[in-house]
């Protein structure tokens, strides 16, 4: 559900917070408000807001507050300390008692102190303000803005089987509307010739499972993140007691899928310098154990070679999407505005943002050699990095490249994200 949060500013005796789909009003003292605000920032939009808050507030130390989690199908509301919250539903109004409640047909949720007016222009999309109260208004079906049907197409449910042409829209029945495309008619489409996907490490299409083709102790066919864009590893002087990779004629299973299903603009792998382990896997020169097979790296000759960088990890977003870090990623409403994206050195991730909290080019998760950095590209609402030491979100200075460690939390717009490096890179 889309909701508009309007603060009632008044004398500003409480604090009103909105982070993503979490809304919180604290009427407690500074310590209580600070704890709640920090919690909101950390929790992100998808946490079990009510459950966690109920546990946290059971001691009563968080003072009077009201928390709201905006869900897809209603509001989860938690009231503590007798905050006078009123829910308006289609069937009337209801003053909420202390405790948690789920409201599914609510049209607005109000905490209005006195008769101070509220100004609908002061909507709070993200952040904290001092406020006496608030009004949280549910937008009706705003997430799916179908207009009403064109005036000549009444909502008549005509069974398709009635062959008799309907008299009203005389031009309609026979032809397909111009805006539509038949998926059964392949004429006129320049579709590529379909070729089968390669079979994993097998000679040609094998009818039976052929498991033990490669010796078990040498997973040289790389079930691991080694990208296969280069046909063969760079020849080098280091010992390589491994069976050579498959000849180019039989690409390994992790070879790129034909464009049909691949990313629309596939990331161009990045070349970096690294070390090759005794079994031929390309590694970050700083690691002590091979990220793929775990063999100790001290057996190598420590000669740096240049090769395609394996994925640096994955950025897991709070909405459940994830982005593998093969190239740098630029997030924004219109990431194509970024020259790195336009020129193919970074991949754009378009964020759909009804709340206008995301800038056109907002933030970049940047691969710097073997490291991952975050950069704010001068966004209006900022890019944040969670500080474990200070237990707070730090806003990044624009264009400052800050390294991320595995497990780092970042936040922009209504999203939080966690950077995970490959489990296989743990040394």
């Amino acid at each position: 559900m889309e909701c508009t949060l309007i603060p009632q500013l008044g004398s500003g005796r409480g604090r009103l917070v909105r982070v993503g789909t979490t809304v919180l009003y604290s009427a407690g003292d500074d310590a209580a408000a600070s704890a709640l605000i920090g919690w909101c920032r950390l929790a992100g939009p998808t946490a079990d807001v009510m459950g966690e808050l109920t546990r946290l507030s059971s001691g009563g130390s968080l003072g009077p507050f009201c928390a709201v989690a905006i869900g897809d199908h209603g509001l989860d509301v938690l009231v503590q300390g007798g905050v006078p919250v009123v829910a308006h539903t289609a069937s009337g109004r209801q003053v909420l008692a202390d405790g948690a409640v789920h409201l599914h047909d609510v049209t607005s949720l109000d905490l209005i102190i006195g008769d101070a007016a509220i100004d609908p222009l002061l909507a709070l999309n993200d952040g904290v303000v001092a406020a006496d109260g608030f009004s949280l208004r549910v937008k009706a079906a705003a997430s799916f803005p179908w207009g009403p049907a064109p005036s000549d197409a009444q909502p008549v449910m005509t069974p398709a089987a009635v062959a008799q042409p309907a008299p009203e829209p005389a031009q309609a029945p026979a032809a397909m509307p111009a805006a539509m495309v038949s998926l059964t008619d392949m004429a006129g489409e320049d579709l590529p010739v379909a070729s089968p996907l390669p079979v994993a490490a097998a000679p040609a299409p094998a009818p039976a499972p052929a498991p033990a083709q490669a010796p078990a102790q040498a997973p040289a066919v790389a079930p691991a993140p080694a990208p296969m864009a280069t046909p063969d590893p760079t020849p080098m002087a280091t010992p390589m007691p491994t069976p050579a990779p498959q000849p180019a004629a039989a690409p390994p299973a992790s070879a790129p899928v034909p464009a049909a299903t691949g990313p629309v603009s596939g990331p161009t792998p990045v070349q970096v310098k690294g070390l090759v382990c005794a079994r031929g896997h390309f590694n970050d020169p700083r690691t002590r154990f091979c990220a793929v097979c775990g063999i100790a790296m001290h057996q190598t000759s420590f000669i740096l070679t240049e090769d395609t960088r394996p994925p640096l990890g994955v950025l897991v977003m709070s909405d459940g999407t994830y982005h593998t870090l093969i190239t740098s990623l630029v997030f924004g409403r219109d990431p194509d505005d970024d020259p790195e994206v336009r020129e193919g050195r970074a991949q754009g991730v378009t964020l759909i943002d009804p709340g206008n909290t995301i800038s056109r080019v907002h933030a970049e998760i940047r691969g710097v050699d073997w490291d991952v950095h975050i950069v704010d590209h001068g966004s209006t609402n900022g890019t944040f990095l969670w500080s474990n030491d200070r237990q707070q979100w730090d806003r990044l200075a624009p264009e400052q490249s800050v390294p991320l460690t595995p497990g780092s939390h970042v936040s922009f717009g209504r999203l939080t994200a966690t950077f995970e490096s490959s489990a296989r890179q743990k040394s």
Binding site: M157, P173, M176, A200, P205, P223, Y322
Partner: protein, 276 residues
């Protein structure tokens, strides 16, 4: 695993192209689904399903229809039949066959074990046909296996991850996370092997009611993805016959060369279970 939102009845949609909307259907994970009456030009007796996804630009629509056509031209009786694609305001939509039996995730009536195995075998046949045409499905999950009224099953379309989603690199909608090969999340390309992993994970789910990631909690997508990355998949052997457990184990093997080579091999293996 039904954490996906359901379409609400509040949308005032009556017409999409020359299709007449009858009403919303449960959401399948990536878009919104409506039951609709097809136009007479198609000569269909039955209603169809219309799926709606967000999308605008002309280029986006061309890519969208192109990818749908690549799917539609794959010749398999176990792939859902697609009819038309269209554009409406800032959404794309397309129409497909309506399967009255629901999905493997939420069938309209309880399925026997044999029926569940048959559905996964049918879906595997469809996956094989896609692979033979150079397409990896990448979004195999019980909610995407559709049950026809006659008892056969067919595989639903590719997910939004592939269709018209512009530059999004990868997506793991919650409904899929228990079924995706973690190697895909870490950057491997989709392949026969990654789809075969999903088939094994689906088999595990239909036979045990659990995903191969024990204790996977769908309430927090971020935690779910992290948990899948950190905890290797494991077969719940106590809930399965040894043959079933072995079959699933080989499908989800960490070494992709140890997995069945093709989805058709998975069919053979499933059918050998049935006759046991």
């Amino acid at each position: 695993m039904s954490a996906e939102p359901h379409a609400t009845a509040s949308d005032e949609i009556t017409q999409l192209g020359d299709y007449t909307i009858v009403g919303p259907l449960n959401d399948g994970g990536h878009g919104r689904f409506f039951r609709a009456t097809p136009p007479a030009r198609l000569g269909l007796d039955d209603d169809v399903v219309i799926k709606v996804v967000a999308g605008t630009s002309e280029a986006g629509f061309r890519r969208f229809t192109r990818e749908l056509k690549l799917f539609a031209r794959v010749n398999s009786p176990h792939l859902v039949t697609l009819y038309d694609a269209g554009q409406h305001e800032d959404h794309f939509f397309y129409s497909m066959e309506y399967c009255a039996g629901g999905t493997l995730e939420s069938p309209t009536e309880p399925l026997t074990k044999a029926a569940k195995l048959r559905a996964v075998a049918d879906a595997s046949r469809a996956v094989h046909a896609l692979h033979e045409s150079g397409i990896a499905h990448r979004d195999l999950r019980p909610g995407n296996i559709l049950l026809r009224s006659g008892g056969s099953a067919c595989l639903g379309d590719l997910g939004l991850a592939q269709l018209g989603s512009g530059s999004v690199t990868s997506m793991a909608p919650m409904a899929s996370i228990g079924f995706v090969d973690p190697k895909l999340i870490m950057g491997d390309s989709a392949s026969r092997a990654s789809d075969i992993y999903s088939l094994g994970a689906i088999l595990h789910w239909v036979l045990t009611g659990q995903t191969v990631h024990a204790g996977l909690d769908g309430s927090d997508p971020m935690m779910a993805v992290r948990s899948v990355l950190r905890n290797p998949a494991r077969v719940q052997r106590t809930l399965l016959t040894p043959a079933e457990a072995d079959l699933i184990d080989t499908c989800i093997a960490d070494d992709i060369t140890a997995r069945p080579a093709t989805a058709l091999d998975v069919v053979t293996l499933i059918e050998s279970l049935e006759t046991d």
